[in-house]
C-alpha cells in the first residue's frame, strides 16, 4: 500500500463512516470546537487584560514601588533632585499634576535623560525620539480620546497619539509639564532608576521622605491570582470539551471496527491504518480549532469589558480592552487543539494499531471489561490522591495550590465510575426479585462505561460550580459583613491641604458626634511593606471592629498606648501572636510595638498596624491629618455635606458617604468574580452539551439493546421511562458525589489558593440553597439531554426494533 493514490482511496474508506453517522461527526466538532474555544477565550482575555494593564503601568511609571516625596505633600524644587544626583543617587524627577483649568487631566512630566535605563522611558522612546521629545517641539503624548478632549485648550502644542496610555493622561517632557502646570522649577516626586541606598537620612534634610508602597506586589498578586483563576477555568473547560470528543471517538471506533478489520483483511497494515486515523484526527482538530478560535474571539470580546472593569477597579486605572489578533497565538491554539485531540484519541489509536484482521482471542464479558477499567481508574485515582496528599503536606505556593486543585479534580473524576458502580450494586443489594428491576440494574451497570466520559465532565462542572460558588459566596458574605463592621462612620472626608484640614477638624468638632482622624504612614518590617494607621480610640471602633484575637482589656490598653492592633495578614506573615513585639522602620525611625489584638481585614493584601492617634502624632509629627471618619447624629448628612463643600470650598468628591463607599467596594468585588462565575456557568453548559451528545449518540446503540426486552413484551413507553430513569439515576448519583467534591474544591480554594494569594483565610460557609439550585439545573440538563432520546424510543418503529443490528460492544 505504498502508492499515494491507493492510500488516498483507503483514507476515503476510513472517512465514509462519518457520512453514515453525520451526528457523530457533528458532535466531534462540537467537542473539539468547545475545547479550543474556551481555552483560547481565557487566554485571550488574560493576555489582553495583562497587555493593556502592563502598557499603561509602564508608561505611567506606576509600577515603581519606591518613590521619594516631600514630607508635607507639596511640590519640591529641582535642586533637591540635583542634590541627590550629586550624592550618587540614581533618581529621576517626575512632575505629576492637573492644570487648574482642566482638573480631569493628569499631566506627567518625565526626564528621559536621567531615566534612560527605565523600561517606561524605553517604551516612550519607541514612540518618539528623545531629541524631539525634549527639544524640538516638546510634544504631548496622549491617547486619541484624551487628545480629542483636551487639544482645544492647548492649540499651540503638538500631540503624539500613544494608544497604550489610559484616558485623561498626558505624558511630556518635564520642562513642558512645569510650563503647562505653572510649576517652573518644581517636582512632585522622584523615582529610583538604579540601586536604592541603605541610608536615607539625607532625605530628611531636604524635606523629603522615601515611601515604599507595595502597590506593585499587591497588584501583581491580585492580578496573578485573578489570571490563574481564569486559566484554571479555561483548562477545565478544555478538558470537558475533550471528554465530549473522547466519548464520541471511542464509540465511533467500536462501530467502525468491522470496517477497519475488512481493510486489514485487504492487506492494509495496522500502522497505515492508525496513521490514516491520525490524519483524520488532525483534520478534525485543525478544522474545529479554527472554528474554535472564531468562537473564542466572540466570547472574549463579550466577556472582556467585565474583566477590564474588574481589573480597572482593582488597580484604579482605566483599561483599554482590545483583543488583538496574533498569528502565533492562532497557531498555538491550533496546536493545543491538535494535541488535545490526539491525547483524547490515544486509546483508540492504540487499539487501531493493534487491530488484527480477524476477531480473535478470548471473548471477555462486559462485566469483566468494566472491572478492568474500573480497577485501572481506581488505581490512578488513588495515585493522584496520594500525590495530592503529599502536596497538601509539603507543597508551598500558589502554583502548588493550583496543582493540588487539579489533582483533586482528576482523582474524583476517576473515582466517579467506581462510585456509580458501587451505588448501583448497593441498590441491587436490596434483592428485589423483579425481572425488570434486575434487568434495569444490569443494564445500568453496562451503561456506566459508555456514559462515564460525559458524566465525568458533568461531575467536573458540577463540583467546580459548587466549589467556586461556595468560595465566592463565602467571600462575599464575609466581605459584606466586614464592610458593615468597618464602615460604620456616616461620612468620610479627605482633604489635601493640611492647614485646611485642621480648620475643618476644628469646625466639625461642634457639628458632629465625633471626628475620627485617619492617618497612615508606610513602614517596613522584616522586609515586608506595611502601613501604620493612626486612629482615635472611640466606642465606634470598640463596638464594630471584628477582632479575631485580643488580650483582656485590649481596647483600654491600646488607648493608653501600651500596644497596638495588627491585621490577620500581618500576623500570618510575621507569625506574630498576642503579646509579641513587632519592630518596624518607618520614615527613618525604628519603632517597636506590642501586639494586643488581631483583627480580620478582608480584601486587603497588605499588613497593617493600628496605633492610637496620640501615639501616631508623637512618632510622626510630619504626617498631617488629612482624612477623617465622621460620626454624625443623624443618618441624613446631605446638609452637612453641602455645608462643608460651600464653607471650605472643597471638592465634592472629598466627602464620601458610607453607602456609596460600600456600593463601590461591593461593585469592585462583583466585577472581580463575575467573569469567574460566567465561566463556571459556561462549563456547566458544556457539560450539559456533553451529556446531550453522549445520550443522543448512544440512542442508536441502545435501541438494539432494548429491542429484545420490547419483543418479550414490555411496551415502548415503559422502556422509555426506564431509560429516562436510568440516566437520571446517573446524573443524580453524579450530583450527590459532586457535592463533597465541590466542598473539597471550595476548601482548597479558600485554604490554599486564596490563602497563598492573599494571605487571609475566608471563613468557609455552606450554601445548600445554591446546591439545590444547581441540582435543579442539573435536572433540567438531564431532561433536555434525554428529551430527544426519550422520544426516539417511544416512537421507535417496530421494524427498527426488529432489525436488530448487533453492534460489537
Amino acid at each position: 500500500m505504498s502508492k499515494p493514490r491507493s492510500l488516498f482511496s483507503v483514507f476515503l474508506v476510513v472517512l465514509t463512516h462519518w457520512k453514515r453517522k453525520p451526528l457523530q461527526l457533528f458532535l466531534i466538532f462540537v467537542g473539539l470546537t468547545t475545547a479550543t474555544a474556551l481555552w483560547s477565550t481565557v487566554k485571550l482575555i488574560n493576555e489582553s487584560a495583562e497587555r493593556s494593564f502592563n502598557a499603561a503601568q509602564q508608561l505611567l511609571n506606576q509600577t515603581s514601588a519606591e518613590s521619594i516625596q516631600s514630607i508635607n505633600g507639596n511640590y519640591f524644587p529641582d535642586d533637591s533632585f540635583v542634590e541627590l544626583r550629586k550624592q550618587g543617587w540614581e533618581v529621576t524627577p517626575i512632575l505629576r499634576g492637573s492644570p487648574p483649568y482642566e482638573p480631569l487631566l493628569t499631566i506627567i512630566g518625565v526626564d528621559l535623560i536621567s531615566s534612560m535605563t527605565s523600561s517606561s522611558s524605553q517604551r516612550l522612546m519607541k514612540t518618539v525620539d528623545f531629541e524631539r521629545f525634549m527639544a524640538d517641539s516638546k510634544p504631548l503624548l496622549a491617547n486619541q480620546r484624551t487628545y480629542e478632549k483636551f487639544s482645544q485648550n492647548t492649540v499651540l502644542d503638538t500631540f503624539i497619539i500613544l494608544s497604550d496610555l489610559p484616558d485623561g493622561y498626558i505624558i511630556c517632557d518635564i520642562g513642558k509639564a512645569q510650563e503647562l502646570l505653572g510649576l517652573e522649577g518644581r517636582l512632585s516626586s522622584m523615582e529610583f532608576v538604579g540601586p536604592i541606598p541603605n541610608d536615607m537620612t539625607e532625605l530628611l534634610a531636604l524635606g523629603l521622605y522615601f515611601t515604599e508602597t507595595n502597590q506593585k506586589n499587591e497588584i501583581q498578586n491580585l492580578s496573578r491570582s485573578f489570571h490563574l483563576n481564569l486559566e484554571a477555568f479555561g483548562f477545565l473547560s478544555f478538558v470537558v470539551g475533550l471528554f465530549i470528543y473522547y466519548s464520541i471517538i471511542t464509540m465511533a471506533y467500536e462501530q467502525r471496527k468491522s470496517a477497519l478489520r475488512n481493510l486489514r483483511v485487504l492487506g492494509i497494515s495496522a500502522i497505515t491504518l492508525s496513521s490514516l486515523m491520525i490524519l483524520e484526527i488532525a483534520l478534525f482538530a485543525l478544522l474545529s480549532g479554527n472554528l474554535g478560535m472564531f468562537v473564542s474571539f466572540i466570547i472574549a470580546s463579550y466577556l472582556l469589558p467585565d474583566v477590564s472593569v474588574a481589573l480597572a477597579s482593582l488597580f484604579d486605572q482605566d483599561m483599554t480592552h482590545i483583543i488583538s489578533f496574533s498569528p502565533s497565538f492562532w497557531i498555538l491554539s491550533l496546536f493545543v487543539s491538535l494535541l488535545g485531540a490526539i491525547t483524547a484519541s490515544s486509546t483508540v489509536l492504540w487499539r487501531a494499531s493493534k487491530l488484527s484482521p480477524l476477531e480473535t482471542g478470548k471473548k471477555i464479558a462486559w462485566v469483566q471489561k468494566a472491572n478492568y477499567t474500573l480497577k485501572g481508574q481506581a488505581f490512578l485515582c488513588v495515585l493522584f490522591s496520594l500525590v495530592a496528599c503529599i502536596l497538601m503536606l509539603y507543597g508551598d505556593g500558589l502554583l502548588a495550590a493550583f496543582i493540588l486543585l487539579g489533582l483533586i479534580i482528576l482523582a474524583s473524576t476517576l473515582a466517579l465510575p467506581t462510585v456509580l458502580w458501587t451505588a448501583v450494586n448497593f441498590i441491587l443489594s436490596f434483592k428485589i426479585d423483579n425481572p425488570i428491576f434486575q434487568w434495569f440494574i444490569a443494564d445500568t451497570k453496562q451503561q456506566i462505561n459508555g456514559l462515564s466520559a460525559c458524566l465525568m465532565s458533568l461531575l467536573i462542572a458540577l463540583s467546580v460550580n459548587i466549589g467556586v460558588n461556595g468560595m465566592i459566596e463565602s467571600f462575599r458574605q464575609t466581605f459584606l459583613g466586614w464592610l458593615d463592621q468597618r464602615l460604620v462612620s456616616e461620612l468620610y472626608l479627605s482633604v489635601k491641604d493640611p492647614a485646611l484640614a485642621s480648620q475643618i477638624e476644628l469646625y466639625l468638632d461642634e457639628k458632629v458626634e465625633s471626628v475620627l482622624p485617619i492617618v497612615k504612614v508606610p513602614a517596613r518590617t522584616k522586609n515586608i511593606l506595611i502601613d501604620i494607621f493612626g486612629f482615635s480610640p472611640d466606642l465606634t471602633y470598640e463596638e464594630n471592629w471584628p477582632l479575631l484575637q485580643a488580650e483582656d482589656m485590649a481596647w483600654e490598653k491600646i488607648t493608653r498606648g501600651e500596644g497596638v492592633l495588627i491585621n490577620e495578614q500581618l500576623s500570618r506573615r510575621l507569625q506574630a501572636g498576642l503579646s509579641d513585639n513587632i519592630s518596624v522602620i518607618s520614615n527613618g525611625r525604628y519603632l517597636t510595638f506590642k501586639v494586643l489584638a488581631i483583627y480580620s481585614d478582608y480584601g486587603n493584601s497588605k499588613g497593617q498596624i493600628m496605633i492610637p492617634i496620640s501615639v501616631f502624632d508623637e512618632k510622626f509629627p510630619e504626617i498631617p491629618h488629612l482624612q477623617f471618619a465622621l460620626r454624625t447624629y443623624s443618618s441624613n448628612n446631605e446638609e452637612l455635606r453641602r455645608d462643608l463643600i460651600q464653607k471650605f470650598d472643597i471638592n465634592s468628591t472629598s466627602i464620601t458617604d458610607q453607602q456609596s463607599l460600600k456600593d463601590f467596594s461591593t461593585q469592585i468585588f462583583e466585577k472581580t468574580f463575575s467573569v469567574t462565575r460566567a465561566l463556571a456557568v459556561l462549563t456547566l453548559a458544556v457539560a450539559g452539551v456533553s451529556l446531550f451528545t453522549s445520550v443522543t449518540s448512544l440512542s442508536a446503540q441502545r435501541i438494539s439493546q432494548i429491542a429484545p426486552v420490547w419483543a418479550i413484551g414490555i411496551n415502548r413507553k415503559a422502556l422509555a421511562k426506564l431509560e429516562f430513569l436510568r440516566i437520571f439515576t446517573f446524573t443524580f448519583i453524579t450530583f450527590i458525589f459532586s457535592v463533597p467534591i465541590g466542598l473539597v474544591i471550595a476548601w482548597i480554594l479558600m485554604n490554599y489558593v486564596h490563602l497563598e494569594a492573599f494571605d487571609w483565610r475566608i471563613p468557609a460557609k455552606y450554601f445548600p440553597v445554591q446546591w439545590l439550585e444547581l441540582f435543579l439545573v442539573n435536572l433540567a440538563v438531564t431532561f433536555v439531554s434525554v428529551f430527544l432520546y426519550y422520544f426516539s424510543i417511544r416512537r421507535a418503529s417496530p421494524s427498527d426494533l426488529l432489525r436488530v443490528t448487533s453492534y460489537e460492544t
Binding site: 464479558a365 462486559w366 426479585d433 444490569a442 419483543a711 413484551g713 414490555i714
Partner: protein, 221 residues
C-alpha cells in the same frame, strides 16, 4: 387457537413497493405444531412477526383465542405477548446485560409463571446448565440459540413462534433441540409455529406449510 385471516403486508423499498404477504389466511389449532417452509425472503419472518403482534399487518386480522390482537393497544399487545406467547428470533435477541441464566428466567418471572424445577429440567435438556452464569457475548451462536429456545419454553406460553430455531446448530444439537421442542410442546399443549429451512425439523411437525407467492398453503398433515 390462533387464526390468521386475509393478512397482507408490504414494504416500501427503494425499488418500489414489495408485497410480502398477499392475503394469508390460516388456522393454527391449539396444541399442534406447524412448520412454515419457504425460500429466503419469502416472508416467513414477517408472517411470524405479524402473528406475534410485533408487526402490524396492512390488512387482515390475527386472533388468538378469539382476541383480535391488532384491536388492542400497545400495552395490551405487550401483555398478550408476555403472557401467552414466546418468540425465538433468528438473531436470538438475548439481553446482553444479563447472564444466560437470567435471560432464561426473565420471561417466566415477567409472566408470573416462574417454575424453578421446570427451568432446571429445560436447561438440562438443552445442555445449558454449565453456561448459566456466562454472558451472551461469551457463548457460541449455538449456545445462544438454545438459550433463546429455553427462554421461550420455560415461560410455558400457549404459542411459541420460532424463526429458524436450528439455524446455527450442528446435527447432534439439532436432534436434541427438535426432541426437546416436540416433547415440551406436546406435554404443555403449546402450539408451535416454526419457520425453517430444515427438512428434518419440518418432518417432526404435525403439519407442514409452504409460504410461496405471498400465500400459505398446507402441504402435509
Amino acid at each position: 387457537m390462533l387464526a390468521v385471516k386475509n393478512v397482507s403486508k408490504s414494504y416500501v423499498i427503494p425499488e418500489g413497493v414489495q408485497e410480502v404477504l398477499k392475503g394469508v389466511s390460516f388456522d393454527f389449532p391449539r396444541g399442534s405444531s406447524f412448520a412454515i417452509l419457504g425460500e429466503s425472503g419469502s416472508g416467513k419472518s414477517t408472517l411470524l412477526h405479524v402473528m406475534a403482534g410485533l408487526e402490524k399487518p396492512d390488512t387482515g386480522t390475527v386472533t388468538l383465542n378469539d382476541t383480535n390482537m391488532w384491536i388492542l393497544n400497545e400495552s395490551g399487545r405487550a401483555k398478550l405477548r408476555r403472557e401467552k406467547m414466546a418468540v425465538v428470533f433468528q438473531q436470538y435477541n438475548l439481553i446482553n446485560s444479563l447472564t444466560i441464566g437470567q435471560n432464561i428466567s426473565f420471561l417466566p418471572k415477567l409472566a408470573g409463571r416462574y417454575d424453578s424445577s421446570f427451568i432446571r429440567k429445560t436447561v438440562d435438556a438443552l445442555g445449558l446448565s454449565n453456561i448459566l452464569s456466562k454472558y451472551p457475548e461469551q457463548t457460541s451462536g449455538g449456545q445462544q440459540q438454545r438459550t433463546a429456545l429455553a427462554r421461550a419454553l420455560v415461560s410455558k406460553p400457549s404459542v411459541i413462534f420460532a424463526d429458524e430455531p436450528t439455524g446455527n446448530l450442528d446435527e447432534d444439537n439439532t436432534q436434541r433441540v427438535i426432541e426437546v421442542l416436540t416433547k415440551f410442546t406436546n406435554n404443555m399443549s403449546t402450539s408451535l409455529i416454526v419457520a425453517t429451512h430444515s427438512e428434518l425439523l419440518a418432518s417432526k411437525m404435525n403439519s407442514v406449510t409452504v409460504l410461496e407467492g405471498g400465500t400459505l398453503k398446507l402441504v402435509k398433515t
